[in-house]
Symmetry: C4
């Protein structure tokens, strides 16, 4: 298939290592996908395969209904949710799903994560929202993600009793959101079990978010090895 698909197979396989590095996943419970730009296709993790065994060659290419187009393995059992997001949100180029522990604890309690941290204001623009309970197997999870994130600043949603879905312009951005979501969820948990977290004023959250989205990082991406 095309060079673009080959490149994304490599990217998606490699990005799963970040889920492992940041301790967001146990056994095989988490997955990354990327949209193939300009085509109704996505590249996603195969189902139930160990992170150690992921290679560009065993990634699965599906259409945006989740039907396998290329690959010998069954795609992630979360493929329908990824596909729904790509169909409904044309600007999304990457989706990540994890059951990272602290974020999932908030999800188990059915609570959004309130914004007590400047880093959360930067990345998420305020609270990280809770989404509905939804059963796997149809479009319910995808609908829940899209309904919660549409028009919301946050690239992460806590699906009730389930875990985290994040979106991004690219798969790497979605992975970053998954990493930062767990980091924020952990610090917020530690703050609540410690004492009384102090709110940040809404106007300060707005100001932090606006600045971070425009100023942080390199305007032109440096030549980095990943």
């Amino acid at each position: 298939m095309s060079d673009e698909v080959a490149r994304l197979r490599e990217t998606v396989a490699a990005l799963h290592a970040e889920l492992v590095r940041y301790n967001l996943v146990a056994w095989t419970a988490g997955n990354v996908s990327a949209r193939v730009p300009g085509r109704d296709l996505m590249v996603i993790k195969p189902s139930g395969v160990s992170y150690d065994d992921l290679r560009p060659g065993n990634m699965v290419v599906c259409d945006l209904d989740g039907v396998v187009v290329e690959g010998d393995l069954a795609p992630s059992s979360d493929t329908a949710a990824h596909a729904y997001v790509y169909r409904a949100m044309p600007d999304v180029g990457g989706v990540v799903h994890t059951h990272s522990g602290y974020a999932t604890a908030w999800a188990a309690c059915g609570e959004s994560i309130p914004c007590h941290l400047t880093a959360q204001a930067d990345e998420f623009g305020g609270e990280i929202p809770i989404g509905p309970f939804a059963l796997i197997g149809g479009d319910d999870i995808g609908k829940g993600i899209v309904a919660t994130l549409t028009g919301h600043r946050s690239p992460a949603v806590l699906m009730r009793n389930h875990g985290v879905f994040t979106i991004g312009r690219t798969a790497r951005d979605a992975v970053k959101a998954a990493v930062m979501c767990e980091d924020v969820a952990r610090t917020a948990h530690l703050a609540r079990t410690l004492g009384d977290p102090v709110p940040i004023a809404p106007e300060d959250i707005d100001s932090l978010y606006a600045r971070y989205q425009n100023v942080y990082g390199q305007t032109t991406i440096p030549s980095a090895r990943r």
Copy 2:
């Protein structure tokens, strides 16, 4: 001895690395065994040997009364419990024991882990049950495991004041259950110390469990390196 035993020595020695990787064990406190299919034998860790020092050649082969059949070292001090499970539950091909911290905290409190997570419904079919207090040295631990898990969906039991035993069709399945048990126990702990975890409706638990047991993963196991 047979090729099958040689293969299982390798598998059992290697699987202990997963206990280390997922931080389920300290020093030498955890062990994996596998039944030798079609024979009244099992392969198990030697007692008190560091995980770094486990090799196919120092695994111990015992009969299902725990008597050493092959090997220079004394078998795990938990051998009697493993053996009892294999005698009583003919479908079990692997047994794992750990004192993984979060799961053992639930065990220390004498509490089953209630089901607040879809991943727990998937893997354990509902709560992870608490078993009795039992002293080591006879069949009491084995009896407690079998009494608790017989007819239960969960492949994991929390033995009171002690730790976790898991079972599986294979040793690898039992290791997966041990990894997921700690992951679930951790998230459930984090949820309870955070707020009020929301229950999942019993019919939703049933539906998640039924689907996961039938749909997840690859129908034919992919050629993976482990």
Copy 3:
């Protein structure tokens, strides 16, 4: 540029590995800088670059107003805060900023860390103080750091709702303070969620601090590889 700058590029790049090793940072959220002795210059991490990708060659040299003097990349978004500290505190040779989880939880609650540990008395001379809330983008963060740490024994300040800044005679000293700050913050959190931490008498804190500052370690630094 000078040998001194070349040496500090190497030191600053390498010290970021300690932030990773001690789990003080997620993604790119933390930075180290060093003052160039005897010159109005500092060496600092580039903004938004992964820790894996840091090299002596991509560190950024700025003047003490934060203006880039040497380097192809934009400097850390926290450069203004580092620069303010170097301008205001001439004995400071290194500055570190992290959002390490436990320390940031104390910061989110707007609380100083009380001194219940002899190690905290040793390193910080008592409580680790809370600083003000300050928005990024001008001198407010720098002013808050300097106002809190001037005349205080502690080389670490918890900036409210934000994270940790530490100072040191050298960049390595500031990194050590960041590592010990998180270690102390963690133990203090664990103690508070466990029971009633016992205070240390002020005169004992004074005695511990005086001894540690004078006696600990090697009088002449041993030839170590870092």
Copy 4:
């Protein structure tokens, strides 16, 4: 010097890696020593040197008053406490000191760790006792350790507001006690913050302890690489 000293230099240097592996130490805050059998000497870590930089050649040999006999570096600032223990407890061949987080949290609260775990009964024979507050610099810490552990089953003492000291027949045994102490302290903390830990009956603790001291492990130590 003698072969015995050379061997112990190697052992002591290497055992520090276990403190790092089990996350018991931050920066340079923890140390291991071994008595030289049959001589009034001990081998101990140098003060303030990174774990990465420990080599057989930079270990320090002291007499049992803590005076350096061999070595270019100053010995650990805890040398006086180690030396006091060796003078007072002739059967002790190894001493370890850490500020491991969970155990030190119990120490900060001035509480012994009650016995809710069979693994704790096995290794410690019941509760892990709290010792007195003591300032560094004389014999007070050593006296507190010896007063608490003499006639006690536990090889670990929680020194109030400070950290853990463990003893063993060998340095390796003392390191094992330090690892297991933190593991037990963590699980006990998690159990208390979760619910109501169930006590183990004193006669069951006695029975577990008696069995473990006599039956566990290999009668003759297997040829292991460490």
